[in-house]
């Protein structure tokens, strides 16, 4: 069980007014989706919540402790992150990549144990990339790499999962697979907080939504109250048609010419 809270948080998006301060409480069992146009500060918010970027003002609390007072290692045992962009200057295999998720749990002299290896292999299997274990990361497709990144977070096994567009590059089947995995994690009392571009995935799988506007304004709440067509149209400056499919709203953009 972990709680991530912000108090009057202003994220530091360069050359932007402060906007609306965020005081959010992200609790275990919840699946949060952050929606907003390009450049609204979704990734900045995610990195600020993880303590990787300093806030302009306000604070982030992890289990009621100020994040800036915690050691990185203590944070990494509670909170993990899937980045939107990844760096691989040196060749590494898929299995090695998943195994680095165990890093915060091992002491300096300790090497990975059989249980660590098992966790990594299990995570790779869940993401359907176990057959690629020995392949070099650089030889994988974008979607396969994304699945390896999510498997690495599974191997890290933190209570709080922050994900920057987890469905990037994924085919339809794996989009559904990842979103259900995240919801399953939430039912196991984990906390999930992710940036998304797909309104329909958000409508289907998120319990809570945060709308982030380009000018720094924000509003948040339960998904069914937040996903109002008028609010979303204003958010994206895009006309939408809403239909209901399978019990969830589906938003379709209207072409400008029509």
């Amino acid at each position: 069980m972990s709680i991530l809270q912000t108090r009057d948080l202003i994220i530091n998006v360069p050359s932007r007014a402060d906007g609306f301060p965020l005081s959010i409480c992200i609790e275990s069992g919840q699946v949060w989706g952050v929606l907003g146009p390009n450049g609204a500060g979704k990734t900045t918010l995610l990195h600020t919540l993880a303590g990787l970027l300093p806030a302009r003002s306000g604070q982030v609390f992890l289990n009621n402790q100020a994040l800036i007072e915690l050691k990185r290692r203590a944070i990494a045992r509670q909170l993990g992150l899937v980045f939107q962009e990844r760096q691989d200057s040196f060749p590494a295999t898929v299995l090695e990549t998943a195994l680095i998720g165990r890093h915060p749990w091992l002491s300096p002299w300790q090497s990975e144990q059989a249980t660590d290896l098992q966790r990594a292999q299990q995570a790779l299997a869940t993401m359907d990339v176990d057959h690629l274990s020995e392949r070099l990361l650089s030889t994988l497709s974008g979607g396969e790499r994304q699945r390896v990144a999510i498997a690495t977070l599974m191997t890290q096994d933190p209570n709080i999962w922050l994900l920057d567009e987890p469905t990037n590059h994924l085919d339809l089947h794996h989009q559904v697979k990842v979103m259900s995995l995240l919801r399953d994690q939430a039912t196991l009392n984990k906390t999930v907080f992710m940036c998304l571009h797909d309104l329909n995935l958000a409508a289907r799988w998120c319990s809570h939504i945060l709308l982030l506007y380009t000018n720094g304004d924000a509003c948040w709440g339960e998904a069914k109250t937040m996903l109002q067509p008028s609010a979303l149209e204003q958010l994206y400056s895009q006309k939408l048609i809403t239909v209901e499919v399978d019990g969830a709203p589906v938003f379709v953009p209207v072409c400008a010419g029509q």
């Binding site: 980045f83 040196f90 590494a92 090695e96 680095i100 890093h103 002299w109």
Partner: protein, 319 residues
């Protein structure tokens, strides 16, 4: 992984024995064994204990220092092209050494001056890269490369102003020459200490190789780790340059050769670099002493001539 380190240790031992036996006077194995037991002839004992062993150990330590420094710099800068000299350390050391030579100082002062130059270069790059803006690996790399170019110009200027009878000594220093080493012990000690400091950090380095954000997200305190690596790699390089001049290629090629064969786990690569770098330089120095004996070649030439084809071969057959 322990197997490969064991194999390298055995090769290191064989290389050292070769270095003791081969030279202007070849000592046959039976005679070498007698010398080791303390029963050999006077000439052979002097050759082994006072000339060849200290020199072989100095070569080993220098090679090990350079290879470990190279492996560290590559991870620090997340750039496979980085080597111990990329940040201009050898340039600073060379300017120090050449100025000492130009003013006719003795060997001890030349070494001291080289070390001072290397540390000055370290502090200079450290300070300039720190600057006012954000600190990143690419900023450090650019600062270092530009400062290195500056040192290069100063070196050329010194060479141009130097009377010609002093030039050969300077050129040998610039190409690297183990005969400058007077005692191997400081270099060996620094190498051993560095390995002891870096081994508990090795898994942190594996994570850092994935980028600083990813490393921070996995619990690494990135900034302190990066400064530790930078200062440690600088100290290693400064010690190596002070021991034997600026020897090229070892720091670039050895870690990569090992990565091609052993993968990129720093817990293996760092100790393996110390051993393989040492082996390469012991063998290269033995060749440098014998190819045109009794004349000696600068060892930097041999490391490049041995290292380049080996590296290209390994790169060619890697996947």
């Amino acid at each position: 992984m322990m197997r490969s380190l064991l194999a390298l240790s055995v090769i290191a031992l064989v290389a050292t024995v070769l270095a003791l036996a081969i030279g202007s006077v070849t000592i046959p194995p039976s005679e070498l064994w007698a010398v080791i037991q303390g029963k050999g002839s006077m000439l052979h004992s002097t050759l082994v204990w006072e000339l060849r062993l200290p020199r072989a150990l100095a070569a080993f330590a220098t090679g090990g220092l350079l290879a470990v420094a190279g492996a560290l710099m590559q991870v620090l800068l997340r750039n496979p092209l980085a080597d111990p000299y990329v940040l201009g350390l050898s340039g600073g050391a060379a300017v120090g050494a050449l100025l000492a030579m130009l003013s006719g100082m003795g060997a001890l002062l030349i070494s001291g001056s080289a070390f001072a130059g290397a540390m000055l270069a370290t502090v200079l790059v450290f300070g300039l890269a720190h600057g006012t803006g954000s600190w990143t690996a690419s900023r450090l790399l650019l600062t270092g490369v530009v400062v290195a170019a500056g040192w290069g110009a100063v070196i050329t200027l010194i060479l141009a102003l130097t009377p010609s009878y002093k030039l050969p000594g300077m050129l040998y220093w610039l190409m690297g020459d183990v005969s400058y080493a007077r005692t191997p012990w400081p270099a060996l000690l620094v190498l051993a200490l560095a390995i002891a400091v870096i081994m508990p950090l090795a898994r942190n380095l594996n994570v850092l190789a994935r980028g600083s954000m990813q490393a921070a997200a996995l619990g690494v305190s990135v900034r302190p780790l990066e400064w530790t690596i930078y200062l440690l790699a600088s100290l290693l390089t400064a010690t190596a340059v002070t021991t034997a001049g600026s020897i090229g290629f070892v720091g670039l090629i050895v870690p990569h050769m090992l990565r091609l064969v052993l993968g990129n786990d720093q817990r293996i690569i760092l100790p393996a670099s110390a051993l393989a770098g040492g082996i390469l330089l012991v063998l290269a120095d033995t060749l440098a002493r014998t190819v045109i004996a009794p004349e000696q070649l600068p060892v930097g030439v041999i490391t490049a001539l041995l290292g380049v084809p080996t590296f290209l071969y390994l790169l060619h057959r890697s996947r």
